[in-house]
Symmetry: C2
Subunit: 198 residues, 2 copies
DNA sequence: CCCTTCACAGTCAGCTCTGACTGTGAGATG
DNA sequence: CATCTCACAGTCAGAGCTGACTGTGAAGGG
């Protein structure tokens, strides 16, 4: 790896990082190539040298964002306090990952993808691996005696959809209403489902 | 009501309708005042006469969109086939309302509101009445013996959050995976919760 | 019948964004 | 050491958007 290659990679990474941060802090609509360029402290030529079109830049940024969110779940999981109840602990972990600004940015992209074929394609590609990984982490955190239940796949799906709904609702109602009681109630329901006879 | 007033109101309504349609079909980012103007078949002067700023135009449009979605739930409800099971019927009705493009546009605005204080304020105002109405409709469709259950408020909240999550997920996964089985399973769970001893 | 008002028409200035284009200097290569 | 390559700098043209501004003709009041 020559000095040039290192410099190239460093600049490229700064651009992608700046794009991701812009998506998180400014939102998708306000994340122009100029905004990214300024945030990265890079010339126009540098940006266009690495990413000839806006689409390529945000294609890379979205991949990075999704990956970052995936890792955030793992990190939350690793540092979550031990809890005798794996369901409560797992839900807390997932909830706090889903409530982050970074995940909010991802959901914003999902919503915007509704009217953009290109964005949808980019997101589908990026989500592919992350989706599998998310379900795997959910399985890990809940433990084998939960994942062994015949109702487990359904519980996992319902949980993911519920958390997505709560994440979107947070934008408007986070301050208005505490969502944690709802999560605890969901934990109770989950235990009830898993305990039910097959 | 003079001829002038009628004309004024007609033009204003065309503009708001065009703005709402643009939000639904093109998405928030692509809904410029020019796009609305062209869609409404109106001159620049006319648009700016009625709505001096972009914000005022979309403020009115968002109010209309939310109201339209609120009525859509009622309409779906009115024409839903009779069903001996009020839970299954209610969930079908809600699901099909939440899956409409019109509701997708609303969710897109929610997501975009994350990084825009103004948009959040507009949405909060518009959602106020609609939110209460939504819960009232849910109560109506499920019937008094369900709403009487002590677990009902929780079930209503969980259902709304779940449906929002499913609506967002539709953008990427509608074609990939049929969501209806999940809804049926949620109906089963709902019945189980409501049947449980207080 | 005149005069005012007002809904709307059409043009325009100023701004921002995207991507193209040319120049430059440090690092790789012989 | 000479030359070449390439990562990057900086400027610019073209396009789209917002909101301002002036003009116009029909509706309505006196």
């Amino acid at each position: 790896m020559t000095k040039r290659d290192a410099q190239r990679e460093a600049t490229r990474q700064r651009l992608v990082d700046a794009a991701v941060e812009s998506l998180i802090e400014e939102g998708y609509a306000a994340s122009t190539t100029l905004a990214v360029q300024r945030r990265a402290g890079v010339s126009r030529g540098a940006l266009l040298h690495h990413f000839p079109t806006r689409e390529e830049l945000f294609g890379a940024a979205i991949g990075q964002l999704v990956e970052r969110n995936e890792q955030a779940v793992r990190r939350e999981l690793a540092q979550a306090p031990a809890d005798p109840d794996p369901v409560a602990r797992g839900l807390q972990v997932l909830r706090s990952a889903f409530a982050s600004p970074s995940f909010g940015a991802e959901l914003e992209l999902w919503a915007a993808a509704r009217t953009s074929k290109e964005l949808r394609a980019v997101l589908r590609r990026a989500e592919g691996a992350a989706r599998r990984d998310l379900y795997r982490v959910i399985g890990e955190v809940l433990g084998p005696e939960v994942t062994g239940s015949p109702a487990y796949p359904m519980v996992a799906d319902l949980t993911v959809q519920l958390l997505r709904g709560m994440a979107i609702s947070d934008v408007l109602y986070r301050e208005a209403a505490d969502q944690e009681p709802l999560l605890e109630q969901w934990a109770t329901v989950t235990r009830m489902i898993l305990a039910a006879r097959p």
